[in-house]
Structure formats: C-alpha cells, structure tokens
Symmetry: C2
DNA sequence: GGGCAGGGTTGTGTATACAGAAGTCTGTAT
DNA sequence: ATACAGACTTCTGTATACACAACCCTGCCC
C-alpha cells in the first residue's frame, strides 16, 4: 500500500503533458520523416480526427510549427508544410557553419577531462558504424557527437539555435544526400584533439573547415543530381 | 466610380490580418516596452478582455510567444513572461556577435554601390543623433544600420535569427545600459569602408571587435550597477 | 465555345461552454 | 495557536458551435 502510494506520487510529478505538446511532436515527426510532404495542405479537422483530439490542440500546435518554420500559415487558407527552396537550404548550411564554429570554440574553453573521454567514445562509435556500413547508425553517431560538443559549450541560447537549424538541415539533406565518410571522422579526430588542448581558435578553425567541406559535399551531390535530370 | 473600385481592389489585396497576429504583435510590444514585467502571470481572460477579443486568439498568440521565447507556458498554470537570467543575457550577446560577424562578411561580398550610399546615409544619421544627444534616435539609428547590413547580406535564415536575438538583447539591455557613443560610430565607419572594399574578412573582423566591445561595455555597466547595490 | 456570374461546399476564424486541475481560504481539531 | 482537511474559487485545457471567407462547380449569357 505504502509502496503503491509512493509510486503513484512519483508518477504524479510528471506533467499532465498537454495534448498540444503531443500533437506538436507528432506533426514534427510526420514532417521530418516525410509522411507529410512539402506544400501539402494540412486540414485541421483531418489531423484532429487522425490524432483523436479536437481541432483546438491541433491549431495551437500549428501556431508553434509556424514560428519554428515547419509550416506556413496562410490566412483564411490554413496550414501548408513548408517548402524549402534550394537557396534557403544553402543559407541554412552557412548559418549552421558559423554556429557550430562558435560551439566548438566554447567547447574547447569549457571541456573537462570526462568530457574528452565521452567525445572519444562517441568518436569510436562513429568509426564502428563506418566500418559496418550502417548509414543510419552513422548519421545518428554524427548527430550525437555534434550535440555533445554543443552541450559542452554550455550556452543554452546557442544550443537552441543549433537544434533548430540542424533539424531543418537534416530534413532537407538526408533524403537527397548520403553522409560523408572516413574523411569526416578524421576531421572529428582533429577537432577532439583541439578541444582537449583547450585551443579555442584551432577548434573553431577545424570545425569551420569541417562544416565547409560538408557544405561542399552536399552541394556537389545536388549539382550532380540536377545534371542527371 | 472606376477609381473607387480600383482603390477598393488594391485594398482587397491586403490580408484580412487574423486577430492572432494582431494579438501577437500587441503582446510582444507590451513585453518589450516593459508594460508586462518578467515573471508576471498572464491571465488569458484578462488579456482577451483588454484587447477586446475572445480567449481563442489570445491562446494562439501565447503559443507563438512561447516558441519565440518571450513567455514560458507552464502546464495547467498558464503563461508567464520570461525572466531572462544574467547568464542567458550574456549568452545572447555571444551568439549575436557571431551572427553579426557572419552578416558583415556576407554584406561585404554582396554590397552594390547604392547599398554603400545608403550605409553612408545611415551613418550620417547616427552621427547627427549623437551630436543632438538624442538617445532614442541614436538607438534607432544603430538598429537601422545593423538591420540594413543584414538586408544586404541577403540571407533570410540569418536575418530571422538576428532579429530574434537582437530584439531579446534590446529588451534585456536597453533598460539597464546606456548606448555606446562616438567610439561605436567610428567603428561603423571602418565597417562600412571594409564592406565598400568588398573585403569580407576585414568586415567580419571589424564587426567582431565592434560587437565584442559592445558586450564589454554592457558587462561593465552591469558590474558597476551590481557593486552599487 | 468561352467567359462570367451565381450558388454550393469546404475549411478556417472566432466565440462560447464545460470539465478538471491548481491554488486559496476557512473551519475545525489537536 | 497551529496545522491539517475540506470546500471553494479561479484559471487552464478541451470540446463544440457558428459565422464568414475562399474555392469549386454548374449553368447561363455573350
């Protein structure tokens, strides 16, 4: 009895989790994984029925999705999944590069020995995924490494922006470009070394070149695909 | 008659402007100008009555304000005006610095002769405001100059982030710090010169130092104020 | 045959109603 | 006097209802 109450109480701490949040997460997932395609008209009533809620939470979620840039809300016409232009995608990469560079600099200033150890682990995971040829695992290892560097940078404002931009970049480029391979992970090694030394300038430079090469790598694939059509 | 119809048609093009947008703008303004103080509880019904609308548009506006970081939405408790910590404010300045630096670099690459002419005009306006000792005019001249550089940079994603961060910075620092004076506008002169030359690297460096000095300028005033209490 | 006007349909924009959770106040018992 | 329990108030969370705007399709007129 006592234990049951304790368990109930600890559960009680968890937020009631408003429906709008669940709806927001669900819709973001549907957009990122491609179930909802760019330009598609999102009808509130359909979404509401499909998710088993009323229109109200759906509308609130759509407002947030608009501010986050995932949908465009045309007055009196409703919500449409955002269609990123090639230009916008290129701009995203440029912005991400400067944010990640700053992130690396801060990480180099703040990194503690245990952080370095964790970075090494993540690096090894990436190398292993590379050896296995497991693309999905490789992408998630890459994300984990960059995310951890951002965490070490310890700047919540920066982390927020990187998350925003990064998710959009992955949304746009993952379906049309394969990830970089061995070269990228060699650059990661240099990056971790610079962070371990606490050399902010060098860490920033390595990250800047790293993101620039990734940008160029994507650009070439897009160009090749364009010529092919 | 014909003219009347034409006028009506041209007006017709303007969107019906949903209430949620008007509410969003109104609330943002109230927060930025300090009518709504950090930590204050925003009761939906009160806002709705005050603005002469129902709760629905107010709720939608609050969702967007949360995503933009102006309010915190606690489940089952409602909206509270965000209280920025000193740490968060410092982080904002750091992020703004790297974004503005990138903006200056892009502007230097893209600037056309007419852009330079416009920059010179804005610079003169700032100098004039400085001579008059008109603080409000000085602040708006500074904002106008930086905004125009961002416009010349021609990167919508970047512009969006700078606008987000910049507005927050002004919100936090304008009430507690006076603007920089002559020195800042001398730095603007150097910046415009670098942009006119099309020297992206130099423009970036000048902007970086400029924003770093502004950061330091604010930091000192905060520290002085802290000692004083 | 093409274009335009009108009605009908669909879907958004706004308002209102109701259920439930959180906080507050009061009354009572120790 | 204090602490706790309970009802009460207030406000949010969700659902439903209705008005209006945009779009579409049909039929008529030129």
């Amino acid at each position: 009895m006592r234990e049951a109450l304790t368990a109930a109480a600890s559960r009680r701490v968890t937020r009631p989790a408003p429906l709008r949040q669940a709806v927001y997460d669900a819709l973001t997932e549907l957009i990122v994984n491609g179930s909802l395609k760019p330009g598609q008209h999102l009808v509130e009533a359909e979404l509401a029925e499909h998710l088993g809620v009323s229109r109200q939470p759906v509308r609130e979620a759509l407002q947030r999705l608009q501010t986050a840039g995932w949908v465009d809300l045309r007055p009196a016409q409703g919500a449409f999944v955002h269609s990123p232009t090639a230009e916008e995608a290129a701009q995203l990469l440029g912005v991400r590069a400067v944010l990640e560079t700053y992130s690396a600099q801060l990480a180099a200033q703040n990194a503690k020995p245990e952080d370095i150890a964790r970075l090494d682990e993540l690096q090894l995971e990436g190398i292993a995924a590379l050896a296995d040829g497991d693309v999905e695992r490789l992408v998630s290892a890459n994300t984990a490494l960059h995310d951890f560097i951002t965490a070490v940078a310890d700047n919540a404002v920066l982390a927020e922006l990187i998350a925003q931009v990064g998710q959009k970049v992955r949304w746009y480029y993952t379906p049309i470009a394969k990830p970089r391979g061995k070269e990228a992970w060699n650059e990661h090694t240099q990056l971790i070394r610079a962070i371990a030394k606490g050399d902010a300038h060098q860490a920033g430079e390595v990250m800047r070149k790293h993101t620039e090469r990734t940008t160029e790598f994507y650009r070439k694939q897009i160009a090749a695909r364009a010529n092919q059509n």
